[in-house]
């Protein structure tokens, strides 16, 4: 099986995240990491290849630093990596992102057919949870998103996904090749072993530009974006915060607070 895993480099959740004055995510603070939820995607892919054989290609689109994201994927056991790097990509919306990733998946497929594309359930900066579905539309492949459980039947060439939605639990079955996204319930991502880290140093990271992929730069990035940020402002901190210590009547004070603020 050949599996492509899409991984995004995002600002560290624990660091102070901010927008630049022109409304872009500040990615220049050097504290980016592999999107945690994409570790679940890498884990799912590596585990499938351990079970059924094959290879895992990690794919990212993003600035120079984004190479760290695919490096981490290689340390976790992916075999090769692709980094789409092009100044024209900056400022892409969800559609630009999906178009570039789809073109890269096709290019990877040209070197041997891809059976499965795996993504995380969301990137922890944009949090849109739409790229997998858009990828599926671009590639004309079935989608089975938000997998809390994922199984592949290589003989039948199907993938089965159990997912928990707001109002129901579903089991979906899609034919391969397909696009799946996995949630943080799907598995426990492994920590790269010392061996994994050493091995990753020798694994190749291929860099492609938009021209290599035949993507028109005016379709993506700022130029192609269908939405534009007008203004990004930090929210003012909450005012009049109160911290009390229970002296035996905190429950009564809680009730009084709710009454006073007309919350009951």
């Amino acid at each position: 099986m050949k599996i492509v895993v899409c991984v995004k480099h995002v600002p560290d959740l624990q660091a102070e995240r901010r927008f630049t004055d022109d409304g872009r995510v500040d990615r220049g603070q050097g504290d980016g990491t592999l999107n945690e939820l994409d570790e679940n995607a890498v884990e799912a892919a590596v585990a499938l290849v351990e079970a059924h054989g094959g290879e895992v290609v990690v794919l990212t689109m993003g600035p120079e630093d984004a190479e760290d994201a695919v490096r981490r994927g290689l340390q976790m056991g992916a075999d090769t990596a692709v980094h789409v790097l092009d100044a024209a990509i900056e400022g892409s919306d969800a559609f630009g992102t999906a178009e570039v990733l789809a073109a890269a998946v096709r290019a990877i497929g040209a070197e041997g057919p891809v059976d499965l594309v795996v993504t995380g359930m969301a990137s922890l900066d944009g949090l849109m949870s739409v790229v997998p579905s858009l990828l599926s539309a671009h590639l004309g492949l079935p989608q089975a998103t938000l997998a809390a459980e994922l199984t592949v039947d290589p003989e039948a060439r199907t993938v089965r996904v159990r997912r928990e939605l707001d109002h129901a639990t579903e089991v979906l079955e899609a034919s391969l090749p397909a696009v799946v996204s996995v949630t943080d319930q799907a598995n426990e991502p492994r920590y790269p072993s010392f061996k994994g880290i050493m091995a990753a140093r020798k694994k190749p990271v291929v860099t492609w530009t938009l021209a290599d992929l035949g993507v028109d730069p005016s379709d993506v990035g700022e130029a192609g974006a269908r939405t534009r940020v007008l203004e990004a402002t930090p929210r003012p901190p909450r005012e009049d915060r109160v911290l009390i210590t229970d002296d035996g009547d905190a429950g009564l004070r809680l009730a009084a607070y709710l009454v006073e603020n007309r919350l009951v």
């Binding site: 959740l13 624990q14 995240r17 901010r18 927008f19 969800a94 559609f95 359930m121 949090l127 849109m128 949870s129 739409v130 579905s133 858009l134 539309a137 079935p142 989608q143 089965r160 928990e164 939605l165 707001d166 109002h167 129901a168 639990t169 579903e170 089991v171 979906l172 079955e173 899609a174 034919s175 397909a178 943080d184 319930q185 974006a225 269908r226 939405t227 940020v229 007008l230 203004e231 990004a232 930090p234 929210r235 909450r238 915060r241 109160v242 911290l243 009390i244 210590t245 229970d246 905190a250 429950g251 009564l252 004070r253 809680l254 009730a255 009084a256 607070y257 709710l258 009454v259 919350l263």
Partner: protein, 334 residues
């Protein structure tokens, strides 16, 4: 691909499509908020997948719907997002709408994205507000980075698809309700998009309000050590929903659907009460937009106190029952 609409070209009377989420008992609550918001954008057309629209017409009319597009896809079962998007694209063209509103659930976000892709529309998800400027442009408001930033964005494309969060705006009926006009669409899809539903188990409805829509949510974390009774009792006294941290759902103390946070449900109730919750960044991502935040934690250093309007350093097993009893006593007095 359907024909591109020119930027800012929306005629003032172009309809606004609103996707109506519904279940056996009728229209889901966030839809009424969407309809209220939609009235500020144009003539409201509702889209209803499947049967049963008759029972909801009065309510849809009360919220200002002029026309209902009743859509049957294939054999009439609820379509998966790729099929729903394809069907919605047909309604979009037939109605001449340039703006589409859906409520921001995972499935609807996918429907929205795939619809926007074929309709050449701009997409904004998890919006907390949407308006139309005098020149016709659609402008949205979103909360980013665990609600520590507010982002205003404009749609540059000629069409806009916006997924609105629940509790984004109060639902208000119109003064002069009318009965909507129903248009039926039978959509035949070229394919099933290569995927089928093997099994679908609807979750049993609870007596409490739905988490994503509730005005009050009481959340239990690891500090409950698995005993959610005090959390539930406070929630019931307040008429609220019960939520949990991932630790609590991973432990199996409560179902995964109760998880609040970055990988669970995002909520913005008027009142959030966290008990035995530390306030990890993943959790905050799903609740920091709440109106008033109350935290009960026995560790004065717990990070949740950094964002709590009222922080109580204390044991949840004494504070919560005392509060519950007092709230019930006050309610009985009234």
């Amino acid at each position: 691909m359907i024909e591109t609409a020119a930027a800012g070209s929306a005629p003032a009377d172009a309809p606004v499509l609103v996707l109506v989420d519904h279940h056996d008992a009728g229209v889901r609550a966030p839809v009424l908020e969407l309809l209220t918001v939609a009235r500020g954008l144009g003539v409201v057309h509702a889209v209803w997948f499947g049967d049963g629209v008759e029972g909801a017409l009065e309510q849809l009319g009360a919220y200002g719907v002029a026309t209902v597009h009743q859509v049957t896809v294939g054999d009439g079962t609820a379509p998966l997002p790729p099929s729903a998007a394809e069907a919605l694209a047909e309604v979009l063209v037939a109605s001449g709408a340039t703006t589409v509103l859906v409520s921001s659930t995972f499935e609807n976000k996918e429907v929205a994205a795939r619809l926007a892709l074929v309709a050449d529309a701009g997409l904004v998800v998890d919006a907390s507000g949407v308006e139309r400027e005098a020149d016709g442009r659609v402008v949205t408001v979103q909360q980013a980075f665990a609600s520590t930033w507010t982002v205003r964005a404009e749609v540059r494309a000629g069409r806009a698809v916006v997924a609105l969060k629940a509790n984004a705006a109060p639902a208000e009926p119109v003064e002069a309700p009318r009965t909507p006009h129903v248009l039926r669409h039978e959509v035949t899809l070229a394919s099933d998009h290569g995927v089928r539903v093997v099994e679908r188990t609807p979750r049993a409805a609870s007596d409490r309000p739905e988490l994503g829509e509730a005005q009050v949510v009481v959340v239990g974390g690891r500090g409950t050590e698995g005993d959610f009774s005090v959390v539930e009792e406070l929630a019931d006294a307040l008429g609220g929903a019960v939520g949990a941290t991932r630790v609590a759902t991973d432990e199996g103390w409560i179902g995964h659907e109760a998880q609040i946070g970055q990988t669970g449900v995002t909520i913005s109730p008027r009142l959030y009460i966290g008990a035995g919750v530390s306030g990890a960044v993943h959790h905050r991502g799903g609740m920091q937009a709440s109106g008033t935040i109350v935290a009960v934690n026995n560790d004065p250093e717990a990070p949740i106190f950094e964002i709590a309007d009222l922080g109580i350093v204390g044991d949840l097993f004494t504070v919560l029952p005392q509060a519950t009893a007092e709230i019930r006593r006050l309610a009985a007095e009234r």
